[in-house]
Symmetry: C2
Subunit: 383 residues, 2 copies
């Protein structure tokens, strides 16, 4: 047997989310038996796993949170809520499936297969889903060994946000741009991107939605921070684009006019710097905005005052990592480990237990998707 420690079967607890054919979402905790690890696997006791925007879609779907009903037991609580009929069509792919949730997390290796004994007792970070659980069986190769002085909380968010921020910079370079624009820039992700750009000397135009967020990023040394709700936003954005030369943007908002406004301001900034001859097709400089989120679910609207050299499209971390290949991905991961407590530090609003994830008053907090608030789950809290 590969097991090098305990021999009795572990009992775990796992969070599941299910959309039912009759138009409800059910989120519950269930007991599960934790299998023994195979030779190349470990069992991790998860102590920190964040609620990212990318987790919320699977966790709560498009539920109407005004309709929450509670159920289950004190140990294994459950909730359910109605899904608006118009939103059910998009749920077809997950109907009546009890799905585990939680993209990433960190914890301590408590069992290890024969080939992974060196990890026993070590703190590791993981990505791969099903992290909202007390234990996770995972291949040793899919664990990132954290430095000795790093806690699970330090490493809980070391994949999605850090690799997304580094992926943006990498995409910028690979596609021939030299500076970039970011929206919802006061987020944990935005703060990381700001630290990366300051450290690497890359021009970054931060777009936020209120004066507090402007102050926050200015306090962190950001040179260009613009409030999209201020009346002179378009002019200020164009100035910042002239100064930085940014011709690529990453937009978390997704819907409405912002992506198009960024492209228009890029074209105006290029025209302001240009000395070439007239072309009725606009500038020949390619302008790109990638939508990596959907905080605003309205249609994307793009004015055609941007010439012909432009693109808008979706951007996701995992397809990006596949595109660049394992060597580049490893380089990015190594940087995250090396700068875990500085460039890639995350800050959390609250640490909650698995049972608290299902409390309506807690749901009201983490479901707001407000920039700058982020919750950390400790599935072994209060156990």
């Amino acid at each position: 047997m590969a097991d090098t420690t305990a021999t009795t079967a572990l009992e775990g607890v796992e969070l599941r989310s299910k959309v039912t054919s009759d138009g409800r979402i059910e989120v519950s905790l269930i007991r599960v038996d934790v299998p023994e690890p195979a030779a190349d696997e470990v069992v991790v006791r998860i102590e920190a796993t964040p609620i990212n925007p990318s987790d919320l879609g699977l966790l709560l779907g498009p539920a109407d949170l005004g309709t929450i009903e509670t159920g289950g037991t004190a140990d294994l609580p459950a909730i359910s809520a109605a899904i608006p009929p118009a939103a059910m069509k998009a749920m077809a792919g997950r109907l009546d499936q009890s799905l585990p949730v939680g993209n990433e997390g960190a914890g301590v290796v408590i069992k290890a297969g024969a080939d992974a004994a060196h990890l026993l007792g070590r703190t590791v970070a993981m990505i791969g889903g099903a992290m909202y659980a007390r234990y996770r069986v995972i291949k040793a190769a899919d664990c990132l060994l954290l430095p000795d002085d790093a806690s699970p909380a330090d490493g809980a968010s070391c994949f999605v946000n850090p690799l997304t921020a580094l992926g943006m910079v990498e995409t910028m370079r690979r596609e021939g741009h030299t500076a970039l624009v970011h929206t919802a820039a006061a987020s944990n992700l935005g703060q990381m991107l700001n630290r990366i750009c300051l450290k690497d000397g890359i021009g970054l135009v931060n777009i936020v939605r209120n004066a507090e967020q402007v102050a926050l990023l200015r306090g962190m040394g950001a040179a260009h921070v613009l409030d999209s709700t201020s009346p002179d936003f378009t002019d200020r954005l164009t100035e910042a684009l002239i100064e930085t030369g940014a011709t690529i943007g990453f937009d978390a908002i997704g819907g409405g006019r912002l992506a198009g406004q960024i492209l228009s301001a890029m074209e105006a900034a290029i025209a302001a710097r240009a000395t070439g001859s007239y072309s009725r097709y606009g500038s020949s400089v390619h302008k790109q905005v990638y939508l990596y989120g959907g905080l605003d679910t309205r249609p994307v609207e793009i004015q055609r005052n941007i010439g012909m050299a432009w693109g808008v499209g979706g951007w996701l971390l995992f397809p990006f990592l596949q595109r660049v290949g394992p060597q580049v991905a490893q380089r990015l991961r190594d940087r995250v480990a090396a700068e875990l407590k500085t460039t890639f530090a995350s800050h959390y609003t609250a640490e909650i237990s698995l049972a608290e994830v299902l409390k309506p008053e807690v749901i009201a907090g983490y479901s707001k998707r407000a920039t700058g608030t982020k919750y950390l789950i400790n599935p072994n809290k209060g156990v």
Copy 2:
């Protein structure tokens, strides 16, 4: 001297377009002296040059054609028209410059420099602007020698439309797609694309705007022709996408919802064929729509029911040719010459003189941008 024929200076006539600071456009014919060709140049007597949609923007700008005033002389007529104030901002780059017009054309070489004597008397096609003129001095290397049995009219449109249609197919292949969608598909360009796809066995979904255009393309052997104004358009489009597997589209319309509708139908078609597991990010198959025209000048509107693997952007022939490099460009050009009278045959509504280009009743005809109507200028007609 490089001149191998006449020694007296040629007097030419050239069409010019100018936007004035006081908000008018002036289009006129002027007399010009035609310089002697350098050693590597030829002088071409232009006998056929088309009015493409890509020429109209430079020729008439955003003029209000209800305000046309005529002027000049019988030999050298001129017109002017008002430009709506809102459209003047976009004219900044061409203000008060007298610009020659006409992207492509064909004619007979009447003078040749020492290194280009082999072209004397031959019929050639050209691209490079300033074709709305009686004569054009051009580098021999920029001429495409036409087959002996080809007239200037046969070769007049052998760059823009043929290379655009071939460029779409080339882009489809280079970006990993196997079939494509085309809008405004009854145009000369659309008919060429249909012939290419039939010949090469490529799936093509043609989108047109009325029943006559459906009948026209069906009569030319097109398998999938959809009328975007019919009530079951979305369902029929999805069916055609399931059948062809098309995941890239080229859209001449540009504004409004059509590009987004195509992406939505692609995503629905992929979902209908898929057997994989649920992802809240939608399919992982990249869906792309390129806008290569702007028949509709409203903003582009894209619903977010298309997953995250998608892109929308501008597409232009010349940047495409630069991207693929001279060898690919030459391969495409060779195919055009070889299939000039079959795959790449163009059809014209009327042949007009340079003076007729400035007649209000003729302008009313060629400025309509109606699919299937195309005018050919013969600058040496009636001379």
